[in-house]
Symmetry: D2
Subunit: 338 residues, 4 copies
Amino acid sequence: MTRVAILGATGYTALELIKILLRNPEVEITALTSRQKDAPHVHAVHPSLHSRIDLNCEDLTPQQVAGRADFVFCALPHGASTAVIPELLAGGCRVIDLSADYRLSDPGVYEEWYGLVHTDPTRLGSTVYGLPELWADRIPQADLVANPGCYTSTSILGLAPLLCQNLIDATGICIDAKSGVSGAGRSPKMTTLYPECNESISAYGVGRHRHTPEIDQVLTDVSGQNVEVVFTPHLVPMDRGILCTMYTRPKTTVAEDDVLDAMREYYKGKPFIRVVDHLPATKDVAYSNFCDMTVRISRGFLIVLCCTDNLIKGAAGVAVQNFNLMAGFEETTGLLPV
Amino acid sequence: MTRVAILGATGYTALELIKILLRNPEVEITALTSRQKDAPHVHAVHPSLHSRIDLNCEDLTPQQVAGRADFVFCALPHGASTAVIPELLAGGCRVIDLSADYRLSDPGVYEEWYGLVHTDPTRLGSTVYGLPELWADRIPQADLVANPGCYTSTSILGLAPLLCQNLIDATGICIDAKSGVSGAGRSPKMTTLYPECNESISAYGVGRHRHTPEIDQVLTDVSGQNVEVVFTPHLVPMDRGILCTMYTRPKTTVAEDDVLDAMREYYKGKPFIRVVDHLPATKDVAYSNFCDMTVRISRGFLIVLCCTDNLIKGAAGVAVQNFNLMAGFEETTGLLPV
Amino acid sequence: MTRVAILGATGYTALELIKILLRNPEVEITALTSRQKDAPHVHAVHPSLHSRIDLNCEDLTPQQVAGRADFVFCALPHGASTAVIPELLAGGCRVIDLSADYRLSDPGVYEEWYGLVHTDPTRLGSTVYGLPELWADRIPQADLVANPGCYTSTSILGLAPLLCQNLIDATGICIDAKSGVSGAGRSPKMTTLYPECNESISAYGVGRHRHTPEIDQVLTDVSGQNVEVVFTPHLVPMDRGILCTMYTRPKTTVAEDDVLDAMREYYKGKPFIRVVDHLPATKDVAYSNFCDMTVRISRGFLIVLCCTDNLIKGAAGVAVQNFNLMAGFEETTGLLPV
Amino acid sequence: MTRVAILGATGYTALELIKILLRNPEVEITALTSRQKDAPHVHAVHPSLHSRIDLNCEDLTPQQVAGRADFVFCALPHGASTAVIPELLAGGCRVIDLSADYRLSDPGVYEEWYGLVHTDPTRLGSTVYGLPELWADRIPQADLVANPGCYTSTSILGLAPLLCQNLIDATGICIDAKSGVSGAGRSPKMTTLYPECNESISAYGVGRHRHTPEIDQVLTDVSGQNVEVVFTPHLVPMDRGILCTMYTRPKTTVAEDDVLDAMREYYKGKPFIRVVDHLPATKDVAYSNFCDMTVRISRGFLIVLCCTDNLIKGAAGVAVQNFNLMAGFEETTGLLPV
């Protein structure tokens, strides 16, 4: 039995992690943490888990967690992850970090975009970026995996085949991203109250969203070119789902079918990527670990459309995919069939 | 020009008050208050008002407000209203209070349901309850009007004709009420975050909602019978609207058409009441001051279905209706046509 | 390998059936039917199934279906089921019928509420009603099971423990039911267009909804009393979920805790029933086969609150629960964990 | 009293037209048409109009309409408008056509994008395009005005100031447009059923949407440059609202503030255009005739964000704005304050 802990158990991502992990009979969830002092039962925090798991959300130290778990999913805010992960690793845990803390390789870039001095900079360069479709070979042996951002995954998965196969320009890529509200987390904020978001769409953080340098970095790494994107996120009145509509410039005249073939070739054997002919909707991938994508060519632009469930393929699902690879389970365990 | 102030200007009700009052060319909004220390422009708080009104939301004393306004709409939380209304009245203002502070006539009942000792109990008995369809005669000369609760209005308007005409039993009435989320206000709370409310319906506060004694009291007053209701509110994933489905027992065998006729007779000449034959939807009254109602008879029950927009007929609209009567405007000014 | 066919494969219920059955490695879906002449691939009809199942939706005769399948889920409209089920049974299939055609035991009642003369009346009396929490013993050996209506299940599961334990009056029960829009099916209708349903709640078919006689009949059967309910369905702006708020009269003074205990005792060992202390939300059971329920006592009424996912526990989930019992699988196969 | 008819009275745009026109006491709505043979009362078609207007939706000939009305709002599908407008004009009516029939100046382009041979081609070149912010001088004396498409208006209003002031390249403009579902009309279609659209976002008609040539043409006309856009519409789960996020290339290095100033100068005195500093949300303009816009500069792109209510500023509101100019009313009559 593989023992697993989840830090930051009260959020939406943690709920999805629990549900997915409960499908694997060889996994035991042994610790759930939160800062709430009264250690509420996880049922009280997530009523949908009633009768399914009997644990409290405790305020545990990294040492206590390390005593109970072989693997730790760290679903804490950025900044909070670096405060506990070195101790978890020292305690022998293998960690999937769902925060942004270990995603960027350059501490200066981290400081610029997150406004924090990174307290564990030496690990930045060496941490594996947990996008299994790109780096399945690096993940199995890793002790620490940086789980990608939701916008990031969706953008990268759509663009990587085209950049790696040199089909599009590496700069001047406009990513128009649309996300459901769960991506903003479960902490009370006026901006994510129901009557604020419902019946409305708006952009936010244009040019300043923290997933921008992450997209640049990962696409640069994977393609060997200096990729630069313009990233414009929007908040959409729905619970979950991300759609990225990406405007790129093809290097040469190409046909849609040839591009789709190139994408299918690139993702051959990847169980969660579906290159489709139709225009995908976020509902097609909701509650699943699938990533659906297609392309359209119009007036000199190659438009990539790519969607995921931000809480699954964009967070908890890919985290379990990483965990499966690290722990020696089938990559699809708990994720397929759904 | 009638000068008007709105206290608690950052909430949803205040926004609707401002929009409605801007339609009356003889009204000037002269003060908006909030506790925010930086006195934000009302545009920053309500972007939909951009270019329409040029005022800051200031932290003003009752005396300052009284110096600027003839009428005050008090959209503060319960407890906060009693702290300022006596001074506003002393300063010569006439006040429409949208909180619950002056609705109940018995300070003991107030304390029981609101958990606060009422600090202005002598005014409780004498304050006019601002439901113009029932007490249009008392409102014009009032200096203080207690604006009804949203659930309360919707329930009362549907039941009053039947109780006053002795068509139904006064007890054993079950009010199954469904409300949009804006009724819960604009303060950040986890329970009203978009991903908590969306795609879900649930009851809350069953048997304990504070509008219960208010419904009992007003229906008892208007009908002369000792009315007692069971009130079950539900949160519905929509911005606005209240539907009350009310299960009553007819005193004698009646036909639907006769009941509808009795309702129409009761509300003759009331511009905002629409007794309809079809089953009304909250969308039919959204963004308007209308209250739509009908009845159905089934297996010994007389079912009343009544709906309003909780922010308009349930709050800001009826408040302006009261204001119009107090200030000598047409009752429908700013409210019809919409 | 158990071979399974689904008739009426283009609807929402069929999609859920397919997803659930794909989780059972010992089941093979061998036929999907629809009346569309071009036999579209199921991917084209349900894009979320892309890469998961490779079948067309064919226009097959009952004989053709019987040649391919051991079990048939019949998700056809009422009237259409009776046209094929006798032949399917004659062909050796065992059938779970998700239509209303075999639910009512009296052909006269069927004709009264559905406006059709029943063409297979002799089977009506003997068909097993497929609510496994009540009749698990009858289902395993059945060749034909009538899968319950979604409103019906939710109402019955909440009321049965109280009626069977003689805690409440058998008549005068008011069921105020709220359903997501998927319950209305996938055929284009103006009334279920997005802009018609969104941001609105309304009642429909008050006193005339076809699940009324079904609720009466099943509760009468199970409790041995002559049960009569008033049933008021409402359309709620959400995809899925049913909440029934049910106003009943307790026979004696009871405490909430005692009623909850009685419910828990009644459902002991039933894996999909969760008797909870809190007020359940439809979101707690969404995408699952759970049925969550609780009670509240207020002013002489015992209020039962019960919710399900209308497409799962209210349709496809309970259908697979029945199938599992009939085919000898674990009752929870494909349904837990989810 | 100005007599007005509305053709195609059962749709969403017609409902908004009626509501807006009812606010003008000098207008009388004298005819509403639909093809329904039973001539339903407009209440039955639009329950929100109950008690507000007493007319049936009749199946009238153009001659009958011309006998009753001075002005006609033609809210018919494309193709149907050209079938009646010549007769309406011959009958002395002045017409605001809300269909696409008279928007494009080239009959060949019309045929290419709409698949119909234009039956009134001689009027195409001479018809005034009804975007009053651009051509207020041409509208007052027109007998026929082609009311713009909703996507078109929103795109053009955001881009025109930049193109006309030569701030951006005229080609390579990517318009990522997001619309509420009401834009798809009120005819039953599977694709706009609530459970299809809700909780989902997707693109549709990429590169093929009929508003594309209209945007090109109008921006080319107004700017004197050969404008070419890539237009990608998306369906968003909300009733109403359009947000266009438009990726353009500035001709020179510019600052956001300077661009905003240039926009404000361009729209000086235009009552419905609000150039704002913040990122506008569709909710800010919902139920109003406002168009809110701003710009952001990021990595060599000038991003324009522009939003409207698709049914008001995108359809009925601008139609009444045109009507006001044609009939000699204040441009804002019925539209401000709202």
